[in-house]
């Protein structure tokens, strides 16, 4: 019986429901959503791939082209890669990643920079561990 005032108040007030998807709330400023890579600026150093806790990023290079692959189904959105990116080409949108009906990976190709940046030097200990 103690709940009576609360439920009656609920009946006569506006429901708390946000009518998503007809009404979408503005996302919070710092929300960590979809991970995107401005591939033009990427130097394919591989720092993100090494630091990623879920190992969902891979960076491979051939002679002229760098390939940045994101297995986005395994991405946990922690933002570690964004933090370690030396050229700030990685960023996170404030909106969540849309749902998908099939498994996929995101593969971005870009031109390699003229000279590898200094931070690209792999850490020997971590390398052997993987």
């Amino acid at each position: 019986m103690k709940m009576l005032p609360t439920v009656i108040a609920n009946l006569f007030s506006k429901p708390a429901t946000r009518n998503y998807p007809f009404f979408v709330r503005e996302p919070f400023e710092h929300a960590r959503g979809e991970l995107i890579n401005d591939i033009e600026r990427c130097i394919f150093c591989g720092a993100c791939a090494r630091k990623c806790p879920s190992q969902c990023l891979t960076v491979t290079k051939d002679k002229t082209e760098g390939i940045w692959t994101l297995e986005f189904f395994a991405c946990v959105g922690c933002g570690v890669c964004v933090d370690v990116c030396p050229v700030n080409c990685l960023s996170q949108k404030t909106t969540h990643r849309p749902v998908a009906v099939e498994r996929a990976v995101i593969t971005l190709r870009g031109k390699l920079p003229e000279r590898p940046a200094k931070k690209d030097r792999p850490d020997s200990i971590e390398k052997t561990a993987e």
Partner: protein
């Protein structure tokens, strides 16, 4: 049996379950609003039944299809009886038969939860049946006849003669609507410790038919409750809705009790109140 009675009976057969469906829809919308939610569309129960109807699933028992249809037949028969102005006590017995078939079907199932639900359904039956039966005896005594027509023809609202019936009838409505605190055999929101209780093993089209039977039951119960103020169709409708609203509110302000509490406390108390009212009617 004249043509008039026949058409009334037919109307009961068709309209009563539909009315029950609308009641279920109203219930869900009001429940949602009490919980500060927007809630489903009013016709959601009909979509649910339509969906269940088109599902394909292997039965849990060879017997369940049979019992579901018997339960539906009994529920509809009780509607027909009431609509045609028949004997309310008989209508009540017919409805109890429907509940028995539901429990029997659940016994035939293979999941332990289904059988536990069946046991609890029976305990529930044991708790509300006497109260409901005494309530009907009271109504009949106060109105001077057992048939629905003479009860509806009673002079003035019966509520003033039968105030002690109200807790009992609310109890019956709560049990029948499968609402807290008495949703012991199966809860109206889709889960509790016995999963879906007596409904656990019913699925697909059988479950859809059972839902329709449940609507028919709810109509009968609310209809009988509305006899407390049967001075006209509108008044009856309002009385029925008041009972429905009371049940929905109580559902939202109470926890589920156990069958031990229901059988040991609530049922005796409501029964004693109803009996006191009946004795009072006789002493008058």
């Amino acid at each position: 049996m004249n043509l008039n009675t026949f058409s009334l009976a037919l109307a009961g057969l068709v309209l009563a379950p539909l009315l029950g469906g609308v009641v279920a829809g109203v219930d869900r919308v009001v429940t949602a609003r009490l919980q500060s939610r927007l809630g489903p569309p009013l016709l959601q129960p009909f979509y649910d039944v339509g969906k269940l109807w088109s599902k394909v699933i292997a039965p849990a028992s060879h017997w369940q299809g049979l019992f579901v249809r018997w339960a539906l037949a009994a529920s509809l028969a009780s509607d027909v009886l009431l609509a045609a102005g028949g004997d309310v006590l008989m209508c009540f017995f017919v409805q109890a038969a429907s509940a028995s078939f539901v429990a029997l079907g659940a016994f035939c199932g293979s999941s332990p939860y289904s059988k536990l639900g069946a046991q609890r359904e029976l305990f529930q039956l044991l708790a509300y049946e006497p109260v409901f039966m005494v309530a009907i005896l009271c109504l009949a005594k106060a109105a001077g006849g057992f048939d629905a027509l003479s009860i509806m023809a009673a002079q003035g609202p019966l509520l003033f003669k039968l105030p002690l019936l109200v807790p009992g009838l609310v109890f019956v409505v709560l049990v029948k609507l499968r609402k807290s605190p008495f949703d012991i055999a199966a809860s109206h929101h889709m889960h509790q410790e016995v999963v879906r209780g007596v409904y656990t093993d019913y699925a697909g089209r059988d479950f859809a038919l059972l839902e329709i039977a449940h609507w028919a039951d709810v109509t009968v119960v609310l209809w009988i409750c509305s006899f407390l103020w049967a001075t006209g169709p509108v008044q009856m409708l309002v009385t029925g809705l008041v009972f429905l609203f009371a049940a929905v509110v109580i559902d939202n302000i109470s926890a589920r009790l156990t069958w031990r509490t229901m059988l040991g406390r609530v049922a005796p108390i409501t029964l004693i109140l109803a009996t006191a009212n009946l004795v009072w009617l006789y002493l008058e």
